[in-house]
Symmetry: C2
Subunit: 363 residues, 2 copies
Amino acid sequence: MHKVETLTYPIETLKSFSSRVFQYFGVDPSDADLAAEVLAAADLRDIESHGVARLHTYFDMLTLGRINPKPEIKIVRETASTAVVDGGNGLGLVVGPKANRIAMEKALSCGSGWVSVCNTNHFGIAGYYVLQALKHDLIGWAMTNSTKLVAPLWGGERRLGTNPIAIAFPGLEEEPIVVDMATTAAAYGKVEMARRKGDPLPEGWAIDAGGQPTTDPEKMVQGGALLPLGSTRERGGHKGYCLATMVDVLCCVLSGANWGPFAPPFALRQEMPERSVGKGIGHFFGALRIDGFIDPDEFKRQIDDYVRTMRATKPAPGTDGPLVPGDPEAAAEKIRAVHGIPLILPVVEELRDISRKTDIPFD
Amino acid sequence: MHKVETLTYPIETLKSFSSRVFQYFGVDPSDADLAAEVLAAADLRDIESHGVARLHTYFDMLTLGRINPKPEIKIVRETASTAVVDGGNGLGLVVGPKANRIAMEKALSCGSGWVSVCNTNHFGIAGYYVLQALKHDLIGWAMTNSTKLVAPLWGGERRLGTNPIAIAFPGLEEEPIVVDMATTAAAYGKVEMARRKGDPLPEGWAIDAGGQPTTDPEKMVQGGALLPLGSTRERGGHKGYCLATMVDVLCCVLSGANWGPFAPPFALRQEMPERSVGKGIGHFFGALRIDGFIDPDEFKRQIDDYVRTMRATKPAPGTDGPLVPGDPEAAAEKIRAVHGIPLILPVVEELRDISRKTDIPFD
């Protein structure tokens, strides 16, 4: 176990700092609060790579004018239960919640709502969106594509994003079941962590620039690629690739965004794609009204039973038995909401850098 | 390579035999044709375990009165874009296509349609349903739960079915992208094949009755379990478990069917669940009207571009480069539609046994 030095901040401090940073660029105050809330959800749920650790990247993109702080977000086509939204190249942290709201409104009026979004940018954690849906007794879905990092099975180069899928189901007495997963064997953040510590990667995570399997994090980062969930043909790597493709098509081909290797870069150091096949990146949101299928209380009682049944599974030797999807994040949120968010020093330094450049006070 | 003796039959022979077998039990002739068509789709697409290789099991279940040959299939709750269907304990091969049709009709009228089905039985290959949707310029989704065979990550026993997910996207000049995948590391059929040949399993596929990883197919079959896609915590086994849970909830909790370890057995030799939490097994069908999002021709041109872009990926060393989801099945279908379906002798013997018992002629 390596000891990593951290400083701990109340979530409200991080949220109000983030909001003021967005407002500094002219983002409408209520939109800035919304964006800050999405980032905070990541920090609360211990998906640190997607929280304020990314604020400096948003800051850079806004500084360079690569993201529009005052986008016109509009529906470009729709039916009673579907829509395409053009995000006007706004912050994904603002476009995402607004498009998700459209999906939820459509669901409330006709049973389900499905919104594919183009011309947008990174939207934070997919889990944030599906938790919003739960407040309205809706089953929420959220997906997004992202800059290429992943090789399709039998591919020797990056062609797909980590393309996460989220969905949530409410319980009555139990915490909701919350699925929020990248379609890769491992998160890129874990590769970066291993690189920083000088640890090797487990087998099945990555290939190098020559397309060969590697356990060297440096070789993955320097022109290599992540492997899809399943890793190899033998263990079902084609299935992770299938899921990444599904997400890509629903988010991008359906909306007119850039899919696969053509997704624009998020961070400044990433290379520009060889061509453009649409506008920005893409998201996909869905909402299903539970009472369009079954009495919501009956549904939630069954979810409670489901959760308890899975917890009662005979444990595999050497384990405490299965968790329920969402358990680790819900546990983290309980602690972090009270005790604050521990940030590693490089992240604190980035926030201080923003503070210096904007004159917005930070600690 | 083991040489396996086979006999080859035209698909029409198998289809008409299957239909007559279903009619023997009183299944309505047009429903029997439909059920035979679903089985034939599996044999054509080389997903042999789900084709006529299963006819004897359906025969047994109908003989014992465990499946109702003349079910009342009814909508028990609905909104404009959603419904729950009770399959009346009919053949999944009949209930499935009818429920899928309801999803498609709803999509044609309001942009999308979502149908969760209870009180049904095994429905063949999920891929069949999503290919139907393509005929109407719809994006089709299909999922089903099934009898327990899979351990959740860190579980030491069977608690979930192989719970497949299918979705398809049409191209203009290219074949459609067709995802059809179980949420496990490997199919149960592959374990049975290894067992028959006396081959060991690859690591990451299975555990034994004690919950320990095993490469012995016999130990998986005798009270062990399959592992979810991702296999281990390190390689994302929690994600395969998440996907299986998602399928289970959408198919069963939403419809009032039996989820998780309580799914009723399909084959006679399987044990009865300890309790019942609903009716039969469950399916989930979805349909999205492409023109509810984007011009369908533009969508299909982008899919063509997508397919060609993925094929042009630099191959990983020692491979011919990535396939596109659905490639192997589409290739098999072209050959088998012309040259017939090779059946291994044990399957031929089962069909002959049905023929003897019903007086329906077979070869």
